[in-house]
């Protein structure tokens, strides 16, 4: 019975992996393609044209990767901190008007980014923040915060403040009680919130274009026009970089967290 279940589980796993990986492999194949006319199963000619463009072209890869990862990391960090504090205000301190805050935090999930980005753009221009990194960070925050906040409210409500109360009567100040007792329990939520906001920022196209005015370059910003213009080989190479770099960032992130965890337990 158990063995059967295991086999079934493995079959499902393999199937999902195949469904996701095979199309991804086709993209990798496309990125090396010179010509691939119908009805060939494999490309007729191979080429490294796309990789030349990627590395030495109009927007060289290292700078592009650097600014994308930096931007997404800043957004992820800020939105996690803001979400944690907001969740604490609405769930633990039960501030007046918390219903309104919850509603407002939820709005950007409902209203499409293309809609509010217009209004946001006007505000940025008035504030003199258009075409700047700060402006892009702000608009990405609006996109990422609802998810970070949703994760952190559930987490904060589940953790509660009972243990913090206990730590305080044992002699810990409010801040110390939070750091010693509550924060370690929030870690899973903080990690999901960070990852979620990172990937949301990483994959923004329209909001980046509008707020950054092309001055702030990200991989998504370069990738999307190639998809629209129909250069399959070039859009494939950027897709490979997009997915690959996100995966690498998450792998590094996970490893760092594991190391930090081990350090904390010693």
């Amino acid at each position: 019975m158990n063995k059967k279940k295991n086999r079934l589980l493995r079959a499902v796993l393999v199937l999902t992996a195949v469904i996701i990986l095979v199309p991804a492999l086709v993209i990798v194949l496309w990125s090396f393609t010179g010509k691939w006319p119908w009805p060939h199963i494999f490309p007729a000619t191979w080429s490294l044209r796309t990789y030349e463009e990627l590395i030495f072209g109009t927007s060289p890869l290292p700078g592009l990767l650097g600014s994308s990862i930096l931007l997404a990391s800043i957004v992820a960090l800020l939105s996690t901190v803001i979400a944690t504090m907001t969740a604490r205000a609405t769930e633990i301190y039960r501030v007046p008007g918390r219903q309104l805050i919850r509603y407002a935090e939820f709005l950007p999930m409902v209203v499409p980014g293309t809609v509010f980005a217009m209004g946001f753009q006007v505000t940025l221009i008035r504030a003199g923040l258009n075409d700047t990194m700060t402006g892009v960070v702000l608009v990405h925050l609006v996109c990422g915060l609802p998810y970070a906040y949703a994760i952190m409210t559930d987490m904060t409500a589940a953790v509660g403040d009972a243990l913090e109360e206990q730590a305080q009567v044992l002699g810990a100040s409010g801040t110390k009680a939070f750091l010693d007792v509550t924060l370690p329990q929030l870690v899973p939520g903080l990690l999901s919130s960070f990852s979620m906001s990172f990937i949301i920022s990483y994959s923004q196209y329209f909001t980046t274009l509008l707020a950054g005015g092309g001055q702030v370059k990200t991989i998504a910003l370069v990738l999307v026009p190639y998809i629209q213009s129909g250069d399959r080989a070039l859009s494939s190479v950027y897709s490979v970089v997009f997915v690959g770099s996100a995966l690498i960032v998450f792998a590094v992130f996970e490893k760092a967290v594991k190391r930090a965890n081990r350090g904390m337990q010693q």
């Binding site: 009567v169 044992l170 100040s173 009680a177």
Partner: protein, 282 residues
């Protein structure tokens, strides 16, 4: 020599007045119990003493020092909660040593004190376990050891035994009494169990609807309840309504009772006579 002194304390949660006006004096080293039905405000009183709930009126004094406006961590008043509230991210020994760590006691001394306290609560050698590896009774004992590690001026126990099995409860009561004899810290036990309140404490305060109805020695409360609410809370009793005329009490039925008291309407209370003996296992 009064250790803990609460005067005219009022506690509000939001707009609700939970405790309208409480006064209570607890002598140094005494073991008292707060007894009352659930929702009577006894846990609120504990949290107000510990500083978790702010007082809207009145004062709390400890050894003559006013602590009414001090935050919880500066009062040295520790609560052991019913749900234990052990820290899941720390081992058993780290939990017990937590108050010492806050007080910046060195690692060596922390470890040896935690070990000593763990043996006081009969958990020798459990220091390296994780919290989830312990049974409910063991967790409660860890919570107790951790509270003792803080060397509190006042130890507050909020229904600490109600989450335990009956047979574990008896052992825990004995342990708490034993630890009180040993450390002699002022202790307030909140409970809704009458037997527990009466058998463990030097003095008991009976609470109802946010008020202390009677604060006295257990036998005194038992034999001379201050009013019928206290009497009713302690046992099943029967009231006979009637009136006294010419020194004789009469009910509507056929009961006649010669009583040398003034004429008027009275309630006569009947209750079982003796304090029930604690049953020993045979």
């Amino acid at each position: 020599m009064i250790k803990l002194s609460i005067e005219d304390l009022q506690v509000k949660l939001g707009k609700n007045v939970i405790l309208p006006d409480i006064s209570l004096q607890v002598e140094e080293g005494a073991f008292i119990s707060l007894l009352g039905p659930s929702g009577c405000g006894k846990s609120t009183l504990l949290k107000a003493i510990a500083g978790i709930y702010p007082a809207s009126k009145g004062t709390v004094q400890l050894n003559g020092r006013e602590i009414t406006d001090l935050p919880p961590h500066k009062r040295n008043v520790v609560i052991v909660f019913q749900d234990m509230r052990l820290f899941p991210n720390m081992s058993v020994a780290e939990n017990v040593a937590y108050p010492l760590k806050i007080r910046k006691v060195g690692a060596e001394q922390r470890r040896s004190e935690a070990e000593k306290l763990l043996s006081d609560v009969q958990l020798e050698g459990f220091g390296d376990r994780r919290i989830h590896q312990l049974s409910g009774g063991q967790q409660q004992r860890v919570a107790l050891a951790r509270a003792l590690a803080a060397r509190p001026d006042v130890l507050l126990l909020d229904e600490p035994f109600s989450a335990l099995d009956e047979n574990l409860r008896e052992g825990m009561r004995a342990l708490v009494k034993e630890l009180h004899q040993k450390f002699r810290m002022t202790t307030i036990l909140v409970t809704h169990d009458r037997q527990e309140a009466m058998s463990m404490a030097d003095k008991a305060a009976v609470m109802m609807d946010g008020k202390i109805l009677q604060y006295d020695e257990p036998t005194e409360i038992y034999h001379h309840p201050a009013d019928e609410h206290v009497a009713e809370f302690f046992r099943d009793c029967v009231y006979l309504s009637g009136s006294v005329e010419g020194g004789v009490f009469r009910t509507d039925g056929r009961i006649e009772l010669p009583l040398g008291i003034d004429d008027g309407t009275y309630d006569v209370m009947l209750k079982a006579g003796a304090v029930p003996e604690k049953k020993e296992a045979e």
